[in-house]
Amino acid sequence: MCWWHNKKAVAALVLIKIGTLMKKGTVVVVAIVAVVAVVAMWAIGVNNRLVTHDENVQKAWAQVENVYKRRMDLIPQLVSTVQGAADYERSVLTEVTNARAGVEQSAVDASTLSEEQVRAYQQAQDRLSKAVANTIKVTVERYPELTATQGFRDLQTQLEGTENRIAVERGRFNEAVQAYNTALRRFPASLLAGVFGFHKKGYFTAPEEAAEPVKVEFNF
């Protein structure tokens, strides 16, 4: 067995060799380089972790957009179905059409997803939710013959299913954002996050009807 197979011995020999070779200044330089290397490794780790979380958020966002898109696609069908009824209230349909147009304008940059962007997106989508719900409510209340058709009932089922999916995907998105924001704001990592261009992302807030029972004025 050769001497270089004993790793500890080799390391000790190398250190002694370095010690005898180096001057004091060199030792300082080596120490700094070592510290920088350690910090760099840590920074790379932080960056990669944040990238992973960011990817998860974007994946979840894509799903959110998917299910909202699904609803967008159903709305022309809803409009044309109820439009067929004579004297159908124009104002109800106008509200749906306007809300749909509003959603089309509220495009969001998936790479940022800032709190303002998510809030604006949610506002536009929630307005559409309300308009769709209102359309169905009005139809059920005043146009029973329309409600009885299989076409309308199928459409209603599809819209309900879409709302369920929206709720699920919004929940998943919030979970992903929570993991991201936590990783972002935890102490040592928080020092670097801003430098690497990671910023806090926005959540979806609970739908209004769920928040209704708890009414508190924010006056500080």
């Binding site: 299910v67 199928d154 309900e160 769920a210 928040a211 508190v216």
Partner: protein, 258 residues
Amino acid sequence: MRRWLALVLLLAAAVARAEWLPPRLDRLVNDYSGVLSAEQAAGLERRLVSFADSTSNQVVVVITPTLEGDDEQSAAQRLGERWGVGQSRFDNGLVILIKSKTPDEDWGAVALATGYGVEGALPDVFCKRIIDDRMLPALGEGDYYGAVVAALDVVEPAMRGEYSFGQYRDDERRAALRALLPLIVFFVAVIVALVLYYKKHPDQWNNTGRGGGGGGGIYLGGFPGSFGDGRGSSGGSFGGFGGFGGGSFGGGGASGRF
């Protein structure tokens, strides 16, 4: 301060919206209401286990006396997600959740929740039809077992990929036609018989006043009976259920009340 308050509010909202979730056991038929007999439950379990073994699709049946204030559709979705019904690679799980009627809560509900992977085989509209056409009539009479079997008879071939929603609709149409068939045959037979009768006795065509004339025997063929579809369950292997596969649920499905 504001942040804390928001957190408290969020928690309050979470508490206010009850989240019903029974503990996960390694079995596919979970009757917490005790509305299935032991043989029925065992038979369903065998059927579902053999279906899971042969297709990797997992169907879970949960019957509960209460949802603790939860909404049946989201309860079914959450149960599927947390239990991991279906294979994680295919997300091919289905949850059949029935809230039974009890003296305390005199309303029943049923929800189907589809995993991401079976949303194509079982679109929401299809689920709604299964509930409305096949489950609610049985459930209305308190026949929980019949409702589950009626759903499985359609759901299993659909999940296996043998049966699509379009075919189901055509079948319904054909069934409606079959129901009308005896009537149609009856009228055709009457007309044919009358035509034959007057061809043989043309003199009687216009005799409204004079009586007489032997009564012609009019034969009406026997009606083709309509048969109920006799698709039975196929009891297969006796091996136990191997465990849930971690499938994921995106909120697909439908629900109904009885």
